[in-house]
Amino acid sequence: MTATVDTAPEIAEVKRSFRPTWVDLFLWAIRIGAIIIIAAGLIGSISKFIAGEGPSARQWGDLIVAGLSQGAMYGLLALGYSMVYGVLGFINFAHGEVFMSGAMVGFISANWLFSNGMWNANPFLALFIVLVVAMFTSTLVAVLVERIAYRRLRGSPRLIPLITSIGVSFFLQYTFAGLFGVGVRSYPQAPSVFSGAVSLFGFPVRKTSLLVISVAVLSMIGLWYFVTRTKTGRAMRAVAEDKEIAGLMGIDVDKTIVTVFAVGGAMAGVAGLMWALLFRGVSFFTGFIPGIKAFTAAVLGGIGNLVGAMGGGVLLGLFEGVGPLLILDGLGIPGVSQLKDVVAFAALVLVLVFRPSGLFGEQLGSEERA
């Protein structure tokens, strides 16, 4: 059947009636409510700022930088979600655990490097080693998961691989809990060359944040090059567009999908190192919430759209970092730091309900578009 207009999906985006149903009214109420809350919070914060109360400019600067570096990390994680969704059409719940595994095993190597002195003596090499270890572990886990759990489910209704990935996520979490124990392990303190701050445009920026952001940018450039300029990258894009036709053109679809998972895993490994630099503590549960936030970022940027994923990540990081103080504190809500996650989840809900195609446009394959 040719995909002419006559046979165009009698489904796809079913635009509902123009007459407002009460569902529409409800949704509008939420929109308006959200706008009011955000606006009121902003106004509150601005007036506080003018009055000299509330956080200082320097503190805002800190928050913005922190938000950017966290956002960079979310962006790298989001790439994995975006790529898998673009190619296979499902949410890989277990990607957060792929990230965690890199961070955990990286911790082992970091610890070892620390105990034999190399950590501080040769910081760049040490970090590089940890990076490689983390990337390797994450990639390995991602590829194994694809092979064992997802490969047989190609072509199943979308919810089945999603549920499977939830199972995988739990399995991995508790495997690591069993192997490494349930406690939080702390990476050694960043080597002295990375501690402290650097002055950028007259603004003190923590060196670790700078490092994280630069690593993210480099990774992104590397990935962009890989996807647009190499043969494998082209194959990935073809498979994402239409698996069947790509196969008919001679592309090894299985191998390409493995590559997609591997690349996503590698990026998650880098993100693992970033987590280590930013937060230092890892446990078996570390991957879960960042994973969900990274998925939010991926949708925010437009699922399947790699540049969008990065952008969505940065936006989400900023929103999460600055939002609680900016909006909630402006409204006079106490204890805003606890509510950081609420802000992130609220962003998740708002994005998915009101703008599921994302800010930069989603890119789905032909099967998912149908």
Partner: protein, 262 residues
């Protein structure tokens, strides 16, 4: 007053204009066929009328009310039912259940009745069951007896089409939109279904609009034929008139070669 009337109906998908201004009327009790080459916009026409997509422009007036842009379930409730080009049943529900679902918009009992098994609920369930069986009996012995409890996916292709029509009938429509009802059927089945379409009007009183490619069916059963091409109506009239119309022939077969050189 016409049962259904569209005025200046337009619909585009992205950059592609599927329907470019169609005026269409049908009176109660008529059987009208809509024909045209592939890509003419016929199914899109059905989709817009049945509410799957709102039109960009134009009005759709059904029994005096403009239904453009209403939700599909509301339009079904108003009295327009349709079948799909690629039969879309509920594959894992039984034959009987498929038809019962069709009655959903005409029945009322809700959760309370179901949980407490009120007499009103039980009465309605009985009525639903009887009505479903009655509708299925319209198709002779094809969909009765042991068939009732068979899941829909075991049915043969022709039976699936019949079941889809049965389901549409269950919504108690005034107007039936049949999208290529005989597609994929062998000659014997086609003849049977053609008779059936006639009976839908004569015995059940439905008004029927039918998209068809098989001209024998069209000639056999239609009162009137409307021809669409590239989203616009290019001819209308009896089958005799339309089948000899040069624009229609050109739309299907193209222009003779000599003219192109001119």
């Amino acid at each position: 007053m016409a049962l259904l009337e569209t005025k200046g109906l337009k619909k585009s998908f992205g950059g592609l204009q599927a329907i470019g201004g169609v005026d269409f009327t049908i009176d109660e009790g008529e059987i009208v066929s809509v024909i045209g080459p592939n890509g003419a916009g016929k199914t899109s026409f059905f989709n817009v009328i049945s509410g799957l997509f709102p039109p960009d422009e134009g009005r759709i007036i059904f029994e005096g009310v403009d239904i453009a842009g209403h939700a599909p379930s509301q339009i079904t409730k108003a009295g327009i039912a349709r079948t799909f080009q690629n039969v879309r049943l509920f594959p894992n529900l039984t034959v009987l259940e498929n038809v019962k679902v069709g009655q959903h918009c005409r029945t009322h009992r809700g959760m309370f009745g179901a949980i407490f098994q009120t007499p009103a609920f039980r009465k309605e369930e009985r009525e639903i069951e009887e009505k479903a069986k009655e509708i299925l009996s319209f198709f002779g012995s094809r969909l009765v007896g042991y068939r009732f409890d068979q899941p829909a996916f075991v049915l043969s292709y022709a039976n699936r089409r019949r079941l889809e029509i049965a389901r549409a009938m269950a919504t108690e429509p005034t107007l039936l939109l049949l999208d290529e009802p005989t597609a994929g059927m062998n000659p014997r089945e086609t003849v049977e279904l053609t008779e059936l379409i006639g009976k839908l009007r004569s015995e059940k009183g439905f008004t029927v609009v039918m998209i068809e490619h098989d001209m024998r069916v069209v000639g056999e059963v239609s009162d009137r034929v409307v021809v669409l091409d590239h989203g616009v109506k290019i001819a209308e009239g009896s089958y005799q008139h339309v089948s000899t119309n040069e624009h229609v022939i050109e739309a299907y077969l193209g222009r003779p070669a000599e003219e192109k050189q001119a």
